[in-house]
Symmetry: C2
């Protein structure tokens, strides 16, 4: 883009995501993915973009900030922005939901609940889910598959009000987040911790691996838009099935290296 007639690129993007800057960002993302500036190429100046899209410089900067956070472009005083990569960026829902991630890859996701328990929360769970001393939780143990192959074991711990909704979902439902969404449970923020774990008896049985076999572990704690904890989950992936990627920069890191918990 930035070659068309005038302020049409935004309108041309059709029923965009509402906010102006999001539509501009989407348009720029497309242009970058299409290689219009090349890898390592320079973007037009903010002022030029503002004129092209017919918006103010502030709006352009909001759009560019989004691209930057995604690691698509650099940003420094004195020079035009430079294209860093053309990687397709994953949406938050593709991250939180195994199902929507798998579908976006053209794979056939599957899931089967192995076990549901209601029990008192451990100290760790009380802290993560902000529960009182006598709080209870619902644990859901579930095997996830990709085109029939077992790939991951998910242990999700929910506060009762969420867990009771989850418990009503059929055991072989492909997605849990979608029915939850329909009932007003929205995932908005998540913290992830990634390391390595050894398969226990459940993992070995559900994944078909040896006991104590190494697995890639992702622990996650999700909250809704109001900041209320929704879930505290531990997922264990078969090696070679997934990798996690993160971008970060001087201007703001979301990634952290930590000493492993004892």
């Amino acid at each position: 883009m930035v070659t068309g007639s005038e302020a049409d690129a935004v309108a041309g993007a059709g029923a965009g995501a509402g906010a102006l800057y999001r539509r501009v960002a989407a348009d720029l993302r497309e242009a970058i993915a299409a290689g219009e500036y090349g890898s390592g190429g320079r973007l037009p100046a903010e002022q030029a973009l503002a004129a092209h899209y017919g918006v103010s410089r502030g709006t352009i900067r909001q759009a560019l900030a989004a691209l930057r956070a995604n690691g698509l472009v650099t940003s420094r005083r004195g020079t035009r922005r430079v294209v860093l990569g053309t990687t397709r960026v994953q949406s938050f829902s593709e991250l939180v939901s195994f199902t929507s991630w798998a579908r976006s890859l053209g794979e056939e996701p599957g899931g089967r609940v192995d076990r549901i328990e209601r029990r008192p929360a451990t100290a760790y769970e009380r802290e993560q889910l902000r529960l009182p001393a006598d709080g209870e939780v619902i644990l859901v143990l579930r095997a996830r598959t990709l085109s029939g192959q077992p790939v991951m074991v998910e242990r999700s711990v929910y506060p009762l009000w969420v867990g009771e909704l989850v418990a009503r979902i059929p055991a072989d439902a492909v997605s849990h987040t979608e029915p939850l969404q329909e009932q007003g449970v929205v995932f908005a923020d998540a913290d992830h911790t990634i390391d390595l774990a050894a398969a226990d008896a459940d993992d070995a049985r559900l994944l078909g691996c040896d006991l104590a076999a190494p697995l890639l572990r992702e622990r996650r704690r999700s909250t809704d838009p109001s900041g209320a904890p929704l879930e505290c989950s531990e997922d264990r992936y078969m090696p070679g099935t997934v990798a996690f990627t993160v971008h970060n920069s001087l201007a703001g890191s979301a990634l952290t290296r930590r000493q492993a918990a004892p």
Copy 2:
């Protein structure tokens, strides 16, 4: 804060990081870490903060955007921001540099170069480092320790102009990024891919583990402020020594789940 006399909090922060919004952000971070709003508590309104700090609402919003990116607070229309966590946020340099990370934990970092090679770049390296078809690279294989214990093996591949600087650093230097920094090589952006790998002969020898033992792998590609690739590295950690954490949200994810490369 937000209880002191007037617009003194910013001035009181002393020789802050230059930009006004950074000083405001740092002050708010401190206040949150000190538990002034509690976990799950509500922040003052933007307007109140603007009045308190004696700055415009735009500046306050810039500061809050930083806190949000770090996963410290939520953000939604209609309600005050809510404190999500009080986690100390790691700076970018603590992420790129094993040395500065270890020091911030009070551990004693160490490093020893095992081997340096100059050789033609592989196709993958040419792409990552944006080198021509006949490009060469310098590979540095290095063992990293924490208080004497071997913890990680680092395989860094540099373009010649960086590699030649690295090759001049003493084999037992604790830090490589610090001397590079002094010579004007600045790391500004990085992409990380985290998964699992099996120890090869070098890993087993340097870490004292078995051949094919499972290790946590972090592949990284770093660029300088102008977007020029500086490094393409593969680090392998002993299990139980580190974990990686990431925050992400509906408003912008830097984290991605990917199918493992073949």
